[in-house]
Amino acid sequence: MLYAFLCCHDEAVANSWTKEEDEAVLAKRHKVTEKLAAKGKLGPAVRLMPTTAATTVRMGGEPVVLDGPFAETKEALLGFYLIDCDSLEDAIETAKEIGRDEKVVFEIRPVKLFAPKGIAS
């Protein structure tokens, strides 16, 4: 089963990382994702810009365009991985491994449809 690992982080903290700290986190994670890639289990990974770069479009009636993220929470969605896992247990273990020694929150969501090139009719 393909799972999405939504990386939710306290954004103020992530913005406070020095370049070195940022690189250290990436390097640490890279060690884990490298192994997954070798097994052919790693899908695309996405790192999002800060929520200050986000725009929200709220539909229903007259569309409303708002500056900022959809939800004003401390922990914002900052990126995600797509990883092929054997089971939910496996996915949970993978999340623990990727996020070791960090204060990150992972939301694990099974993927319903994966279309890397988008969907054309």
Binding site: D10, N15, K19, E21, P50, T52, D67, K103
Partner: protein, 417 residues
């Protein structure tokens, strides 16, 4: 990062908002800082054992406040009772704690804290030092190094700044819309000062000043999180990101300044540029242009160009014309003249800056630009005079060295081959 390495960035990022809130309780900068310090010590003991609290900022505020209240109570047993109004003040703080921690209070707390640091009574240097010390939590030593002064001198400067703002009596009530806008404007200017202090690095000390640029960006982002629809804060953040993106190309191996035209643009930080451009796009949608947005747009035009030759100079000329309207200043006109020289040639640009001679007679860049234009026109003697004047006004060795390069070129060209 070690197992508890995550705590440091959490404390660092919580600092501005936590101190902002604590300042509201105690109405005293030193006391707010002490309470935060105390809370951090407890966090370092408590968090590795119990795990991180769900809302670290709220945790630090509550613990900092309670710790300080305990102190007050302890002291009150051995010393005469505090004045009635002081007690009632503290009691009030306890009753509506939940209400005080909601996001709109965070917003005004942080804005107030930043606003206090940029009080108009404070000279620019003290504003920057105070903000870096109190809001960012940089050590006196780090700040002293960035300003090339002794630690003792910086300590004194910060103490003086603190006592001055303590006397200034900034109101603690929730600000009205007009006041909030005024505070935002002053705070934006202060953040830009912090950035420029880091940006105007002279060669050797670049590494101690870079943190100032990064700190300014962090504060701008924080402000933008709290005021997401403020177009000028969008513009300011974009401007800082786009300028900072060029940092890796701004100094050569010897620490000399490399002008925009000559920079190796492959060294520019593409991530920062992409984010800056994204913020400009958001700001432009609002159709409320302002000086920061226009300056960011100018930086954005440069960021889009693969080289100086590929730059859309007429677009930059137009943007400077807009900036002249929004914020008339001889320095803006001087910058516009540089763009104009690329579009219409050095003669037109020289004509544009001639009326500025009086206003800018103490300004290094005026004589640098003037010398450059004269050089292009083949008026070598006049160019040399302008360059000499520029060197006399240079603030840093790197600035002077840069002008000397031009002078050397002039001398070389004037000698028969």
């Amino acid at each position: 990062m070690t197992t508890v390495g995550w705590i440091d960035p959490v404390l660092r990022s919580a600092r501005p908002q936590a101190i902002g809130a604590l300042l509201r309780y105690f109405r005293d900068l030193d006391q707010a800082e002490e309470a935060f310090q105390e809370a951090c010590l407890r966090a370092l003991k408590n968090w590795p054992v119990n795990g991180p609290p769900r809302d670290p900022v709220a945790w630090l505020i509550l613990v900092g406040r309670n710790g300080a209240l305990d102190d007050v109570r302890r002291r009150s047993k051995s010393t005469p009772l505090p004045a009635d109004d002081a007690i009632s003040d503290l009691d009030d703080a306890e009753t509506d704690i939940a209400e005080r921690l909601d996001s709109s209070h965070y917003r005004d707390d942080l804005l107030r804290l930043l606003f206090i640091c940029c009080h108009p009574d404070l000279p620019a240097v003290q504003q920057i030092a105070l903000a870096l010390r109190v809001v960012s939590g940089l050590s006196v030593k780090e700040i002293a190094r960035a300003f090339l002064v002794s630690e003792a001198a910086m300590e004194q400067r910060i103490t003086r700044a603190k006592s001055r703002v303590a006397r200034a009596d900034v109101p603690f009530e929730t600000p009205g819309a007009v006041e909030r806008a005024e505070r935002l404007g002053a705070v934006a200017a202060m953040i830009y000062l912090v950035f420029n202090e880091g940006y105007s690095a002279s060669g050797g000390s670049a590494h101690v000043r870079t943190p100032l640029c990064e700190e300014a960006i962090r504060l701008a982002r924080l402000l933008l999180t709290l005021f997401p629809g403020e177009t000028e804060i969008l513009g300011l953040t974009a401007l800082l990101l786009l300028q900072h993106a060029r940092a890796p190309a701004r100094l050569d191996a010897d620490g000399a300044i490399v002008l925009l035209d000559d920079q190796d643009r492959r060294l520019w930080d593409r991530d920062l540029i992409a984010e800056g451009l994204a913020l400009i796009e958001k700001a432009v949608r609002h159709r409320r242009p302002g000086p920061y947005q226009v300056q960011a747009a100018i930086a954005g035009v440069h960021a889009h160009a693969a080289s100086s030759k590929d730059t859309d100079w007429s677009e930059i000329d137009q943007l400077y014309a807009t900036l002249e309207r929004l914020q008339p200043s001889p320095v803006v006109t001087l910058n516009r003249a540089v763009a104009l020289s690329k579009v219409q040639g050095p003669a037109a640009a020289l004509a544009m800056i001639e009326p500025l001679a009086e206003a800018l007679d103490g300004y290094f860049h005026f004589f640098g630009v003037k010398g450059g234009l004269l050089m292009q026109l083949g008026r070598a003697n006049e160019a040399r005079i302008a360059f000499d004047q520029a060197i006399a006004l240079a603030h840093t060795p790197a600035e002077a060295a840069h002008i000397r390069l031009h002078l050397d070129r002039l001398i070389k060209e004037s000698q028969p081959a």
